[in-house]
């Protein structure tokens, strides 16, 4: 604490509170959300007569009323805010009621059955990486934890030995991804986790005498402070391994509230503990406070909330200190001075500038001014600093403007949300730990239903439409559909008009909200605007609009979706209606037919019957009978296989013969001839074949005879038929029986160019003398044929 002397602190007034509090903040439950969040105020129940209902008020950080309503449920023990700015009210019977910023009831949950009897004696609402949690201690000294209210899992912590009634003080710690409770029972400390309760001895030196009255954990769960009734203050790391300091504050009356006030801007993170009493006490200095106030721990300071004003107590950031310290000669201070002189048209500006330049510090000076501007609350100071930075920039050639631009941008947003009418006093330091700073900032505007400003911020920050404006509009539409009083048409026109051009709007989300609030017709109308059919269909089915769901599914082209609806409809309707529905949707019908073909043959028949589709019905019967035949054949073949095998060769030719005889009529004569001559050749009944050829004039000509013989490589038989072949086919017949000379003669006789060519190509590869002669002959014939 002795090093503390170099730390400068400042108290910045954020707002003159515009609220009107009848009794100040005394005897009230007050909950203020971190990061400049809203404030909830409620009179403590024991201060009121049982017949009077307390009032619950929700204010912005500037004291503007956002909601106010009489409390109708049971007595409230603790108020608190979740990370998404929902108000949690922990009741004595263990019920936690959740409200939104506008005071609308959202939901509730219970901290367990046994609490109903034993009552909550104290509750704490804490934030962890998993979300917002609630911890309670009951009248029977048992602790129960819920680490995330959005994914509720209650954990009853083990009993603390020797604890009767409420502990003297306790706090929730977050260690090694585990939530634990540190509690003090008189002078003893215990650490409670899921499974056990361990007694803790503070490290570093003698145990403090006296009884622990306050435990405070820092904003980041890194540091811990304990205060005893003897005025001793112990500070250390929250893992209870290292002590930082131990100090005797000489304060005897226990402070009302103790909050961590962490210095972040120093190179080494030094904790300072601020115990608030009246007046506020810092180990090194005391701030006198004229009113009773509530302290709210922030990442980079403490907000002091009093009935008349709202202040930020903060350690002066290093850069600001460097610039504004009395008689500071830091480069930033000089630059600021230079700019002031410049505005006064004084030549001193040049002197100052030279001085900075000589030290080669102009870049640093600009950076300091830019950074300091970020930390300042008042716009005129911000402006002065930024102007100075801008002035300094003119003398530099290669300074990246990025920091300047981003600080300007951030400040513009911060100033907009800090405006008393909005009332979110965020500091620049707080903006960045919120990883996606902009989104959070915008979300909070959305929670407050400040849609126009949120959209302005998004547009200003050039957030992609998809992430920014669209989301805001969706939120707006969701809350819009829950409003009563407007007709569906007006509502739909209003919503679609606003949302028309924004990409990535999920209408189905809005529609399901509308459906949840009982407006089915509105939901259906809204669904019409949904681009993704996959999203439309399930909701439509949920609303029992299967016809509409079916046509939407078909529109999407996703056949699986169509099948899903069809199978749903099938179970829902009677058969006749189902068929009629399908009939109006040809795509669905044909898909269902496919399904039936594989799964329900009988249904298929009914379908065709209903449609009077005779063609398909016929096809159905054809395939059905063939299937039966195959089945029948299976039985036959099982018993008669041997017999069938024996008769196979006989029957094969016999069957064809029968077929042949059967078909013998004028129009089938050709086929008969083909069949017969093929089967005769197959059986090599050459005599029969010859007889057959002579029986009548062949309707298929005699080339087939040559070909079937050659198929069996019976050149001798084949030759018999060559002479019978018509002149047109004779060359080919000769070639088939490999009689090139005969082919040549026939070709020459025919004097056909093409045919002579064919023969030439056949004998050109050979080189015997007779072949060569033949070739000459053919060539000559070709030339004569050509001449003609």
């Amino acid at each position: 604490m002795y090093i503390m002397s170099v730390v400068y602190n400042r108290k910045v007034e954020l707002y003159e509170m515009s609220w009107v509090l009848r009794d100040g903040l005394r005897d009230s439950l007050v909950a203020a959300a971190p990061y400049g969040g809203p404030i909830a105020v409620m009179k403590e129940s024991q201060c009121l007569s049982p017949s009077v209902r307390p009032q619950l008020d929700i204010y912005t950080a500037s004291g503007v009323t956002m909601a106010t309503f009489p409390w109708k449920s049971g007595p409230v023990v603790q108020l608190g805010w979740s990370v998404s700015e929902e108000l949690l009210c922990v009741q004595q019977d263990g019920t936690v009621l959740i409200y939104d910023l506008t005071g609308a009831f959202l939901r509730h949950f219970s901290m367990g059955q046994e609490v109903v009897q034993s009552h909550v004696s104290e509750a704490k609402i804490f934030h962890s990486p998993y979300g917002t949690g609630v911890a309670i201690v009951t009248g029977s000294s048992r602790f129960t934890l819920a680490t995330n209210i959005d994914d509720l899992k209650l954990r009853r912590l083990p009993e603390v030995p020797g604890l009767q009634g409420a502990p003297s003080c306790w706090a929730v710690l977050n260690q090694d991804r585990q939530t634990k409770v540190l509690l003090a029972n008189g002078p003893e400390l215990y650490l409670l986790d899921n499974t056990c309760c361990t007694s803790v001895v503070l490290p570093g030196g003698s145990p403090l005498d006296g009884v622990f009255v306050h435990i405070a954990v820092s904003f980041s769960y890194k540091y811990l402070a304990l205060f005893t009734d003897t005025g001793h203050l112990w500070t250390g790391l929250a893992n209870l391994q290292d002590k930082l300091s131990e100090v005797d504050t000489k304060i005897r009356s226990p402070p009302k509230q103790m909050v961590w006030y962490v210095v972040t801007c120093r190179p080494v993170c030094l904790p300072t503990c601020l115990s608030v009493h009246l007046p506020v006490c810092l180990p090194t200095c005391l701030y006198p406070l004229d009113e009773a106030c509530v302290c709210v721990g922030e990442l980079d300071g403490v907000r002091l909330l009093s009935p008349s004003r709202h202040e930020l107590l903060q350690e002066v950031p290093l850069v600001c200190e460097d610039i504004f310290k009395i008689a500071s000669m830091g480069p930033g201070a000089l630059l600021l001075e230079a700019h002031k002189e410049y505005q006064k048209s004084s030549q001193k500006a040049d002197e100052y500038l030279r001085e900075i330049k000589e030290q080669g510090m102009l870049g640093d000076a600009v950076r300091q001014c830019v950074e300091a501007a970020g930390h300042e609350q008042h716009t005129h100071t911000q402006k002065a600093l930024l102007r100075a930075a801008s002035f300094g920039k003119c003398f530099l050639t290669n300074l990246s403007p990025e920091a300047f631009v981003s600080v300007c941008r951030d400040l513009r947003v911060l100033n907009a949300v800090r405006d008393p009418s909005i009332g979110i006093p965020l500091t620049h330091t707080q903006l960045y730990p919120l990883a996606i700073e902009v989104c959070v900032c915008v979300c909070r505007l959305v929670y407050r239903r400040l849609y126009p400003l949120a959209i302005e911020v998004c547009r200003y920050l050039k957030t992609p439409e998809y992430q920014g404006v669209s989301r805001i509009l969706r939120h707006w539409a969701c809350s819009k559909v829950q409003q009563k009083g407007e007709s569906d048409e007006v509502m739909v026109r209003c919503i679609s008009g606003r949302l028309a051009d924004s990409p990535g709007i999920s209408y189905s989300h809005i529609a399901s909200k509308a459906y949840d609030s009982g407006r089915t017709e509105l939901a259906i109308k809204l669904l019409d605007y949904e681009a993704r059919s996959g999203e439309q269909v399930p909701l439509l089915l949920k609303m029992r609009r299967s016809q509409l769901a079916l046509s939407k599914a078909i529109e999407s082209g996703d056949t699986d979706l169509v099948y899903t609806v069809v199978s749903y409809v099938k179970n829902e309707m009677n058969r006749g209606d189902f068929f009629m529905t399908l009939r109006n949707q040809p795509v669905a019908l044909s898909l269902y037919r496919q399904f039936c073909k594989l799964q329900e043959q009988e249904t298929l028949k009914d379908l065709y019957n209903q449609d009077d589709d005779h063609q398909e019905l016929a096809n159905y019967y054809v395939s059905a009978s063939y299937r039966e035949k195959v089945q029948a054949n299976c039985y036959v073949s099982a018993s008669y296989r041997e017999k069938v095998q024996a008769n196979y060769y006989v029957s094969a030719s016999y069957r064809e013969k029968v077929q042949a005889n059967y078909y013998v009529s004028a129009s089938y004569r050709e086929r008969y001839w083909w069949l017969k001559l093929k089967s005769l050749a197959e059986k090599e009944e050459w005599e029969e074949l010859e007889k057959f050829s002579k029986s009548k004039k062949s309707p298929v000509g005699y080339l087939p005879f040559v070909e079937v013989c050659m198929k069996k490589s019976n050149k001798y038989e084949a030759k018999k038929y060559v002479t019978k072949v018509t002149p047109e086919q004779r060359v080919r017949a000769h070639l088939t029986i490999e009689d090139v000379e005969g082919a040549a003669d026939a070709a020459i006789e025919r004097r056909s160019e093409a045919e002579i060519g064919t023969v030439i190509s056949h004998c050109s590869s050979s080189s015997s003398s007779s072949q060569r002669l033949l070739l000459d002959k053919l060539q000559r014939a070709l030339t004569t044929a050509n001449r003609k």
Partner: protein, 620 residues
């Protein structure tokens, strides 16, 4: 490993890497040793994303195929099911889980490409939903196939879209295109032709609205997206492809980038051993642009492949001859360093020479003597008519395409039916005639149908019905045949197609220029406005949409820089069409480069096959 994906104009490896990353993330979610149970259908497409080595790195110890009954024993902590969202598969999974007695295991399901509420409902009904630790989806829509090719490998896409009116694939297409845009930037222009194209474009625009706000800030790689319905151009896949790659696909079928070939030609010929033990397993080869030689010849007309191969052979042997010139140690060292590359080139050359021979056997006219030799030497089934049939088939196709006698019963088709040639071949020709004639006359259609039913069996009634529903086969209505107009306006038939040094896309079918590619070509220059009339004759609407780009992402084009178009074929694309588009990209004055995407790589046969119904084998 995936170098062939980075060669192209657009680095498709980004897409593959994104897919792999997601797979790894899922696998790491299931801690400990794993066994994967595969929906067999998925193994092929997954092979294009990740090899077994990647899975192994993430503690995948066993792999099984999904089938009913009990799971094979495996000493692993996690069982992961990789499945498509199909109800019948859910039943099998339930059976597997029920029969597995060990309690210490964790089950996971990975739905590909999307999880489905219907399936989860089914698992719930079966009472096993609670047994799964993780239910996740693996969004695998567009799979990079080659440097300029993306495929969804969705077998039934055409059937689903055009026959069953099931738009699941289209939804996945739209989703896939959104993923693509997330990686490669918003595509500013969308053109399309056809109902499905319209539907996909609508869904894309809708999804863009849904994601509004989360605009991506990637400089667009693609300038244009062209969505084409397969039913705008039914003709092209029916025609026999005549490029090298196309023919391999027509004859042997390329699945997921691999082809299986008869092993005989690939037997290692070692002196003194003879050819006693011929390999019986089919030879499996991967075909993509990673193989230098293949990249060179795949897009050639087959008639030009021989010359290219022999030229390559000369270069390689010349390279090997270099060693005699290598005198100094340095030179020898340099030669040796090139050896692996040269040897790879030589083996690649040997492979492709064999493939080319195989194809040549089946497609081109050969002397009888050669047949005889082939017969005696290899013990092949002697089949002198195979190549003739190929040639006759081609002739008929070309007749149809040029509009010769398309309104009469074609005798060749009749003969084919009489001879009971493969049904697919017959259907392919018949459909082609119908398409080229804008439908068949009642008499002709009835004749074909009767012939087919009586020859092949009445069960094919369903198939014929399917073909009619998709418009492949149709009855000519009163309107006149507009195919000749389309052919003339779009110059679909080029009389003087140059197969060796092509100057027009028609070389891929030796005369016929694929309609779909012509539409693409015209769109690039001079624009669709010039062919309004023809577009009206083709089914479905044509449209143009623009997607707003965020400010600052407008490309500043350099002088002479090519534009990039993504052509998406909804319902499948053939290799010949891809080749034609590659040809357009390479044309010096086109100013446009094409990346091709499709639901599935098809050819006429696999396409018709997907439309056939086999009542006997259907699951009751």
């Amino acid at each position: 490993m995936a170098a062939h994906l980075t060669n192209g104009r657009v680095n498709l490896n980004i897409l593959r890497e994104a897919a792999r990353k997601e797979l790894r993330e899922f696998l790491d979610k299931c801690a400990g040793s794993k066994a994967i149970v595969w929906d067999e259908y998925l193994t092929g497409p997954f092979g294009l994303i990740a090899q077994y080595s990647l899975l192994k790195e993430h503690e995948v110890e066993k792999m099984f195929t999904l089938k009913g009954g009990r799971l094979p024993p495996a000493d692993v902590k996690n069982i992961i099911f990789f499945v498509r969202p199909r109800l019948e598969l859910m039943d099998i999974i339930a059976e597997n889980v029920f029969s597995d007695k060990s309690n210490s295991r964790d089950y996971h399901i990975l739905f590909v490409p999307r999880r489905s509420m219907l399936c989860e409902q089914r698992l719930k009904e079966q009472g096993v939903l609670g047994s799964f630790t993780n239910i996740d989806e693996y969004i695998l829509d567009l799979i990079p196939y080659d440097g300029d090719l993306l495929s969804m490998e969705s077998e039934g896409a055409f059937r689903e879209c055009y026959l069953e009116n099931d738009q699941t694939t289209l939804y996945h297409t739209a989703k896939g295109l959104m993923t693509l845009q997330a990686l490669y930037g918003t595509i500013p222009q969308i053109y399309g032709k056809g109902d499905c194209a319209r539907h996909v474009a609508n869904m894309m625009l809708r999804m863009k609205r849904e994601f509004a706000g989360s605009q991506n800030q990637i400089l667009p790689v693609f300038d244009t997206l062209l969505l084409l319905d397969r039913n705008v151009d039914l003709l092209t896949p029916l025609a026999t492809q005549l490029t090298y790659e196309g023919l391999i696909d027509e004859i042997y079928g390329i699945t997921n980038g691999y082809v299986k070939l008869p092993p005989e030609k690939f037997a290692q010929k070692k002196q003194g051993e003879g050819s006693k033990d011929l390999p019986t397993e089919p030879k499996k080869l991967q075909l993509n642009s990673a193989e230098e030689l293949y990249a060179e010849i795949r897009d050639k007309n087959f008639n030009a492949v021989g010359a290219a191969l022999s030229k390559k052979a000369k270069i390689i042997s010349a390279a090997f001859e270099e060693r005699h010139n290598a005198k100094t140690v340095g030179e020898i060292k340099q030669f040796v360093s090139q050896l692996p590359h040269m040897q790879a080139a030589r083996s690649s050359l040997a492979n492709h020479t064999s493939i080319a021979e195989l194809i040549k056997d089946l497609t081109s006219k050969r002397s009888v003597q050669e047949h005889r030799n082939a017969f005696e030497a290899d013990g092949f089934v002697f089949c002198p008519v195979a190549s003739e049939a190929f040639f006759d088939n081609l002739t008929v196709e070309q007749e149809f395409m040029t509009g010769v006698d398309t309104d009469k019963v074609n005798t060749y088709i009749e003969d084919c039916i009489s001879q009971k040639d493969p049904l697919i071949k017959v259907l392919r020709l018949m459909c082609m005639q119908s398409v080229c004639n804008n439908g068949l006359k009642q008499k002709v259609l009835d004749f074909y149908k009767r012939e087919i039913l009586q020859t092949y069996g009445y069960e094919h009634m369903l198939t014929l019905n399917n073909l009619e529903k998709t418009g492949l086969l149709k009855l000519q209505t009163n309107s006149r045949n507009n195919y000749p107009t389309i052919r003339k306006t779009l110059k679909l038939w080029m009389e003087d197609a140059n197969e060796q040094t092509p100057n027009d896309i028609s070389y891929v079918y030796s005369g016929y220029a694929p309609l779909s590619v012509r539409l693409t070509q015209v769109l690039a220059r001079p624009g669709w406005r010039s062919i309004e009339e023809v577009l009206k004759m083709l089914p479905g609407p044509h449209f143009e949409e623009r997607q707003q780009l965020p400010a600052g992402l407008h490309k500043k084009r350099q002088q002479g820089e090519n534009r990039t178009t993504l052509v998406f074929f909804l319902g499948g694309v053939t290799y010949a069409e891809i080749t034609a588009l590659r040809f357009l990209s390479q044309m010096e004055d086109s100013g446009m480069e094409y990346i091709i995407a499709t639901t599935k790589l098809i050819n006429g046969s696999s396409w018709i096959k997907s439309l056939m119904d086999h009542p006997e084998t259907q699951i009751p």
